[in-house]
Amino acid sequence: MKRFSRMLMFVLAATLAFSIAGCAKKPAKSAEVPPAPTPTTETTPTPTPPPEPAPAPEPAKPAVTAADLQIVYFAYDSFSLDDQARAALDNNAKLMRENPSLAVSVDGHCDERGTVEYNQALGQKRAETVQQYLTELGLGGERFRVISYGKERPASEGHDEAAWARNRRVEFTPR
């Protein structure tokens, strides 16, 4: 079921990507797949500077979705990004550049240790830190919406260090 819905998402996303590319300058007519799209980004009517050799039309790549973005993890009671977190975000930024239409919710979470109210603020700090890092990499702030869930939505229901480590996170969900 999950595979099926992922496939469906993929097909829909691919369809959408094609239709956007195909109808960039035209008023949208229909959602049908345009025939043989020439994926040039813009038809720039600038004759003098010879356009660089257009990048070889890549074979239809699956559009990037929020599910492709890596989850970022944090140390206890911390909202700073370690090397691993930055590497994950660098990768996420690359993916988001590949799909400029992708806008996501940046969801900050905490482990269960600590209070409801303080963890909400900590989750907000985590999510804002991630958003700030991504915008410093050149991604538009309008592509993000920051939401703190505090300790209310754990990824793991366990009560040990392994579970806590999985719960101290910022994840990306579609919006």
Partner: protein, 425 residues
């Protein structure tokens, strides 16, 4: 205008000087025994079976237990239905008795409190209401008994709002203070958290993700259960509580780029920022006088309690020598604060005086969270996993073991104890 500030300032200082001296005594009541002074001992009391009409309604039979539980939970009495009073005992002893009279859909409880062994009447009072509300007649009788003996009304006729957890979603619930009649107030399939009562007990502020854009502050009447948005600004909107006069709401917002404490009017407007620090500032709790707000800040490196004037001025640190500390709650008389602090792997419930001195644990072991005072200041309700799953517990602050409130087996957190209902009706 140029001369007025100094006059106003003088007046403010005068009021500030005079107010603390004002007696905080409960009004009314023929105080016979002051159980609040001296050693804490519960007064032996026996609940004799209430007499009902021979073919009375079923509830009447359960009533004996309801009244005994109310009086026991008051922490004033050692209540027992079976206990035989010792005539030789020198300490005061009491008996309660009563009679039900059902007329159509109305019921009357004629309640009596007498001393023992002389059996002189101390309190004789009739309570009328719909048959469906028979439990409230007993709660009012119990609260009157507590008032008669201590000078301050009990809290049996109050309610507790809380959050039911256990799944992906969290909904707001409400029940009577004895755990009866638990019912859901929200069915949002979202997260509700941090309920907080209005001073007169008619409204509940709470945090909810129901709007789909993150935590927002909402308010609802438990009677009509229709939520209204109070603050849905960008970022965090959470941890809201009313000022004692109900005119303002203190809450945590992150709209200026960091979690700070703000004061809003009751409809969410006329924003006033109270804290200004790059650390996390949250969990505001208004003092009963309205002049001060306690809050949590990690500006020292770990979350600790602070107090500021209600306009944000003269911030001073309240807790020292404790680990991660949060969830301040001011006692109704303003003399103490309850809070939680991390000890080992869990959170203990502590209290301290309003100036931060005298900090000491009240409940230890497991995770004990979000303490809130009862209206009489005799009890704290809190969430705890001390027996495994999360549920609601009450400490009577007299050294007795915490007792668990029934939530019908539901996972429960974030309790908020209601103020007394107006006029006991």
């Amino acid at each position: 205008m140029s001369h007025r500030p100094s006059a106003l300032l003088t007046l403010t200082i005068l009021v500030a000087l005079v107010l603390p001296a004002a007696p905080a005594r409960a009004q009314g009541g023929d105080v016979r025994i002051d159980v609040k002074s001296g050693a804490i001992a519960r007064l032996p009391l026996r609940c004799e079976p209430l007499q009902g009409p021979p073919s009375g309604p079923a509830p009447v039979r359960a009533a004996d237990e309801v009244l005994a539980l109310d009086l026991q939970s008051s922490a004033v009495f050692q209540a027992n239905r079976m206990w035989a009073p010792d005539p030789a005992a020198t300490e005061p002893q009491f008996v309660t008795s009563g009679k039900w009279t059902v007329t159509g859909d109305k019921v009357r409880l004629d309640g009596e409190l007498r001393d023992f062994p002389a059996r002189r009447p101390i309190l004789v009072r009739a309570y009328d209401g719909p048959v469906a509300d028979w439990r409230r007649l007993l709660h009012r009788f119990s609260d009157d008994i507590v008032q008669q003996i201590t000078g301050e009304r009990g809290v049996a006729d109050t309610r507790i709002a809380f959050v039911v957890c256990g799944g992906r979603d969290k909904e707001l619930w409400l029940m009577d203070a004895d755990g009866h009649g638990a019912r859901a107030l929200t069915a949002d399939k979202s997260i509700a958290q941090s309920p907080s009562w209005s001073p007169e007990g008619s409204l509940l502020l709470f945090t909810s993700w129901r709007g789909g854009t993150g935590p927002q502050v909402w308010v609802m009447s438990p009677e009509n259960r229709k939520p209204y948005l109070v603050s849905g600004r960008a970022g965090l909107n959470t941890s809201a509580c009313y000022s004692p006069d109900g005119q303002r709401v203190a809450c945590t917002l992150s709209m200026d780029g960091n979690a700070e404490v703000y004061s809003l009017d009751a409809r969410g407007g006329s924003l006033q920022r109270l804290t200004n620090h790059r650390a996390i500032d949250t969990s505001p709790a208004w003092s009963p006088t309205g002049r001060e707000i306690a809050f949590t800040s990690d500006r020292s490196g770990t979350p600790q309690l602070y107090v500021m004037d209600s306009d944000g001025g003269s911030v001073r640190r309240l807790t020292y020598d404790v680990d991660y500390t949060d969830s301040p709650s001011w006692s109704p008389k303003g003399d103490r604060l309850a809070f939680v602090t991390r000890v080992g792997g869990g959170f203990d419930l502590w209290t301290c005086r309003a100036d931060g001195t005298g900090a000491a644990p009240v409940v230890t072991g497991g995770n004990n969270e979000n303490p809130r005072w009862s209206a009489d200041g005799r009890h704290l309700v809190f969430a705890s996993n001390r027996d495994g799953g999360y549920g609601l517990w009450v400490t009577d602050l007299d050294g007795a073991l915490p007792r668990k409130l029934s939530t019908g087996g539901r996972c429960a957190v974030s309790p908020a104890w209601s103020p007394r209902r107006a006029s006991g009706r």
